[in-house]
Symmetry: D3
Subunit: 227 residues, 6 copies
Amino acid sequence: MSTLGIVKRTIVRADAAAVEKLGRFGVATIHEAMGRVGLMKPYMRPVYRGARICGTAVTVLLQPGDNWMMHVAAEQIQAGDVVVAACTSENEDGFFGDLLATSFQARGARGLIIDGGVRDVDELERMGFPVFSKAIHAKGTIKATLGSVNIPVVCAGAIVNPGDVVVADVDGVVVVPAALAQTVADAAEKRESFEGEKRAKLAAGVLGLDMYKMREPLAAAGLKYID
Amino acid sequence: MSTLGIVKRTIVRADAAAVEKLGRFGVATIHEAMGRVGLMKPYMRPVYRGARICGTAVTVLLQPGDNWMMHVAAEQIQAGDVVVAACTSENEDGFFGDLLATSFQARGARGLIIDGGVRDVDELERMGFPVFSKAIHAKGTIKATLGSVNIPVVCAGAIVNPGDVVVADVDGVVVVPAALAQTVADAAEKRESFEGEKRAKLAAGVLGLDMYKMREPLAAAGLKYID
Amino acid sequence: MSTLGIVKRTIVRADAAAVEKLGRFGVATIHEAMGRVGLMKPYMRPVYRGARICGTAVTVLLQPGDNWMMHVAAEQIQAGDVVVAACTSENEDGFFGDLLATSFQARGARGLIIDGGVRDVDELERMGFPVFSKAIHAKGTIKATLGSVNIPVVCAGAIVNPGDVVVADVDGVVVVPAALAQTVADAAEKRESFEGEKRAKLAAGVLGLDMYKMREPLAAAGLKYID
Amino acid sequence: MSTLGIVKRTIVRADAAAVEKLGRFGVATIHEAMGRVGLMKPYMRPVYRGARICGTAVTVLLQPGDNWMMHVAAEQIQAGDVVVAACTSENEDGFFGDLLATSFQARGARGLIIDGGVRDVDELERMGFPVFSKAIHAKGTIKATLGSVNIPVVCAGAIVNPGDVVVADVDGVVVVPAALAQTVADAAEKRESFEGEKRAKLAAGVLGLDMYKMREPLAAAGLKYID
Amino acid sequence: MSTLGIVKRTIVRADAAAVEKLGRFGVATIHEAMGRVGLMKPYMRPVYRGARICGTAVTVLLQPGDNWMMHVAAEQIQAGDVVVAACTSENEDGFFGDLLATSFQARGARGLIIDGGVRDVDELERMGFPVFSKAIHAKGTIKATLGSVNIPVVCAGAIVNPGDVVVADVDGVVVVPAALAQTVADAAEKRESFEGEKRAKLAAGVLGLDMYKMREPLAAAGLKYID
Amino acid sequence: MSTLGIVKRTIVRADAAAVEKLGRFGVATIHEAMGRVGLMKPYMRPVYRGARICGTAVTVLLQPGDNWMMHVAAEQIQAGDVVVAACTSENEDGFFGDLLATSFQARGARGLIIDGGVRDVDELERMGFPVFSKAIHAKGTIKATLGSVNIPVVCAGAIVNPGDVVVADVDGVVVVPAALAQTVADAAEKRESFEGEKRAKLAAGVLGLDMYKMREPLAAAGLKYID
C-alpha cells in the first residue's frame, strides 16, 4: 500500500520544444504566466552564483540521512532531465556531491533540485552542474532504506510530477505541469513582450500610478494625501 | 483613526551634506558613532555582492502579498532617496522587481530596503539598483489593499521615520534620525580617524590587552591564567 | 567551580605535519575519513566566497554581546592557529571586525570560526583573513564579563578542544581531535585516492548501481520497478 | 490555465465507515500503517490541549493575508468534513476565528487544519472546535483575491486531495488518500493489536534487543561493547 | 547623542478609564478596532496558559545578556503599569524571574511583555504574574551595561511609547497609543456589539457568503464553480 | 578510529546523594550555582506540562531517522538514570514513543532528554514518563545504522558525559558534571537560602536598586534621569 519502494520507469516528459522555450524565460515570468502558482519555497537557493536550470523532472523521494535512491534515480535519467529530490522528513544532510554529479551529468542531467543538503560545492561549480538546495552540508549519508523514484513528490512546498518542467534561476524554482508546458511558454512569451514597452515608459519617468491607471481605484479605496 | 491609507507628501529630509558625509563611512562605524543603536536585524542582506546604499528614507507600509503602495511611493521619491518598505505582517513575497526598479531609478532613488522579498535579482544587479531584503522570492503580489507612505515604520526591528538617513552595506543596515545626521557623521569621522593608528599598532603585534589597558580590569574581574 | 574566567596557556597542538596534510583535503573528505563525525552545523558559512582555513584551535568562550575574551585569546595565538569562538547563549552580535583581525593576523592566526556574528566583511576579504560565522552583523559588543580561553567548547554543535585541527571550506567546518590528526589525514588521502577511478567510471556512464553492486541489496529490500 | 479561482462542488469523500474506524487510532499508528508516509510537518500544533480531529478533507487554497476563500469553503462543508487550508506563500496571519468556526461548526465541520495562523483561541476551545495550525496570531485578513476550493493542495508539506481522510492529534497530522482509507484502517487495527503483547513484555523487563532479535544484526554491523 | 543611558521619570499614561475599558476586549478585537495595526509578532507567547494583561507601558531597552535596566525600571512602575522590555539585539537569555516579579508586583505592575527570555515560570504562575515572552530560558544575566527606561522601543516588531496601553491574551499582544485609548476602546465595544447577531446567524446555518453579500463580488472576480 | 559503533558498559555515575539533593532545586538555581554554564538551548521543551527530571545520564548518539541505538541504550539503563539522546545531524523524526518508554521505565529510567522528536505524547503523560525534546513528531524511524551509547555527546548545545547529572524542569535542562554534583548541590542550597530574605524585602516594596546597592554604579556608568 505504501508509495515507498517503487521505481517508475516510463514517464511522460513534457514536450521538448516547449521545454526549450520555457528555458528562455525567467522563473518570475513563468510563475506569473501560470497564474501565480507552482513556486517552491524561497529557502531553495543556487549553490553557486549564476546557476540556472531548465529541464524535465525525474523525481526522487529520499529518507533522512540516506541517499540510496539517488543511485537508483541515475539510471532513469535521460538527456534534458532535472533530478528533483524530496525527503520524507526535514533533513539537511549532504545527499549529493561531485561523484553523483559526475554520474548524473554523464547521463545527460541538467541539474539537481533538492529539499536537503549537498556538498562538494566548489567541484559542482567547476563541473558546471547547477544545484538548487535547502542547505550546503558536508554530512555524509548512508544507503539502507528504500524511497521511490518517479512518484509525485512535494519538494519545498511544490507538487512535482515526473515529467513536469522545472525551471530554476536566482529568483527561485518553478514547476510547470507537463501538460501545460506549451501553453505556459506561450503565455510567458506574451507577457514578456509587453514588458519592454512598460519598462521604456517607466524609465522615461512615467509613474505606474498613471500607466496602470491606479489613481482612481486608490481614491475609491480611501487613500488620503496629506502634507 | 487607523494609520493605514495615508500618503504624506511633505517630509523633512536630512541635510544633504550630512547624508553625503555619512555615505563615506561603513555601517558598523556609523552604528558605533550613534552609541550602538539604530541597526536593522541581521537577516537583511544585499541581493547582490557589492550593493551599498546611502540616502534619505521614503517609507512604505505594505500589506502581505500586496505591492500597491510601492507604486504610490514612487511618486514621492526625490533624487537621493531610499525607499524603506515594511509590512503589516511577516511575508516574503516578491513585492519588487525590475519594472518598479526602473521606475524608482528614473525618479532618482538610490536603492530599496525591504522587510520582505524581491525578484529579478539579475536585472537589479545589471541596472546597478541596490536592494537589501529579507528574502529573494519570485512570488508575485496583487494591488488591492491600502497601506501608507511616509509614516513612521518598523523595518526589520528598526524605527524609520521619513527623511531619516539609511545606510546599508555588507555589514547590515543602519538608520540615522534626520536631526542627528550631521552629528553622527562628525562622530563617525572622528571615530574612523582613531582607527588608523590602532590598526598600525595591532598590525605591528601590539596586543589589544596592552593597547586598551585591559590586563588590570581583567585581573580585577578574576581572570586566572593556568598552565 | 565555574569553567568561566580561565585562560589556559599551555595547550597541546596537533602535529604540524598532520595539520598541513589535512589542509590538502576537503571538509567532506575529512569528515568521511573520521567515520562521519566532527562536523559543525550547516549554518556556519564563510563570510566571503573562497574562504578556506586549516589550523589548530585556540578556543574562546564568549558571553552574549561581549568580546572581551577575544582580546585575551589574541595573546594565546601562535602561528598556524585558528580561533574558535563559542558563546554561552545564542547571540549574533558582531564580536569581531577588522581591528581584531589585524591583531589575530599579526599573531599568525589563519582565520576565525565563530558561533556568532562578525562585521567589516569587506575589509576581512581584502585582508585575506577567512572567517566562518553564523551571522554578519554590524552590532558592536562590550568588554565587561569574563568567559574563558582554551577550555573545551561546543561551537555550532561540535566539541572543540584546544589544539584540535579545524578545517573549513565551502562545504562546512570539521573538527579533528589533535590525537587523531595523522590517522585522519592518512585516511583522507586513501579515500581520495579511490575517488579518481570511481569518477572516471561514472563519467564514462557506468552506474553507481553497478559500480557499488547495489542491485541485489535493493531487490532484497523490496524495490519494485514498474512501467 | 491557472488553478486559482475554482470551486469544485462534487468531491468523492472517503467511505464513512473507514473514516470512523481511522478515528479510533492515533496519528503515529496510522502513519506507520500507511508505510510511513502522509505526515504534515511537525510545526503543525493543536491550538489547545486535547484537540483531536478525524474527518474528510474539504481543501482551500488561500492567498497571503486574505481569507475570502474560507467563506466560499463553508458552503462546501458536509457533516464529518475537516477543512484543510493551504496558502500560496508562507503567511501566519489570523485567517480564522470564532465567527468562521461558528459557521463551519453549524455546517457540520469537525475541525480545521491550516498552514497559517488563527485567532480567538479561547473561544475555539470553549466551542470545542479543534484547530491545528502553524501559528496563533490576532492579525486580521482581507477578502480581495481568489484562491480555490477543493483542488489538491500542499498543506505543511503533505499533498491533500479533497475527500482524503485527515487525522490529527497531539502527535501531528496525517493524510490518508480516500481510496486507501479502509485498507489503512485495517492495517492500523492489526498493528495496534500487536502492541499490547509487546508492551507487556517490555513492561516486564524484556529488552527490545531480545524481543526484536537485534543482537545479531548489531554485531554484524560492527557494534563493539567496551568497559 | 545616544538614546542609551536615559531614564524618563515623567510619562503620560493613557486615561485610566479607557485602559479599564480596553481590558474588557480581546486582542483581536482591539487590533481590528485600530484599523489592523499595532500587533506584536506572533512569536510572543504567554508563559502559562490563561495569562492575560492590560495596562500602561513602562518601557525598557535591555542589552543582550544584561538585565540591569529591569531594576531601574522597577522604580518607575506605578499601579496599573505593564513593563515592556526590548533588547538592542536578539537574545533569549532569562532576563526575568521570580525575584524581579515579586518586586514588580509589589510596585503594582500587572505583568511583563519581553522580547527575550524569562525563567522561574512555575513561580510566575503561582504568583499570578502574567508574562508574554519570546522564550523560556534559565540562562542568567549580568548587570554591567546601560540601556534606557521609558524611551520609545520596538518590541517584537511593534513601536511602544511609554504610557501606551498594552493588551495581551492568548491571541497575541497589541499596543494602543495613549492618545487613542478611548477612541479604540469605543470602537472595540461597537465592533463587539455587532458580533453577537452575526454569530447567531452563522450558528443558524446562514452562510457568510450570503450574510456578507460576497456572491456577486466573487463572481465578478471570476470565481468558477465546477462539478 | 570513529566514535560510532561503541557501547560503553561501565560508567561512573554521580554520587546518588548528590543527585537526590540536586533534584530539590530548580534548573535556574543549579545553573547559577555552577557559575552560569551547563544549559541546553531553550528549544528543549517538556512534552507535557509538569514534566520534571533529575537523574544520571546514559548517553546515546543517534543517526538521523534511525532509533536503533535507543534499544541498545535500554540495556545500559540503571535505576535513577536519564537517557540523553543526541543525533549526528539535525532531525526531528519521532525516535521515541510509548513502547520504548515502557521499556525504559521498566529498567528504572526517570525520563528522556532528546535533541530530536518524540511521539505518543498522551501515553507518555499517562505513564508519567517525562520527556524533554526539540519536537513532537509522529514520523517513524528505522533500525539500520550504528551510533553509540555512553560516549560524550553534544545535546542541544551542551556537552553531556555519561554519568553526569541532568536536571530538567519548565525553565530548561542543565547538565552537572558528575565530579561536581555535590559541590553544585551545596552551592544551590546556599544560593536558595539567600533568596527567601531577598524575596521578602522585594515583596515589601524595597527596590533592587537599593537592596543590591546599584544606584552608585549606575550613576558611575553615566545613567541620566530626566523628566
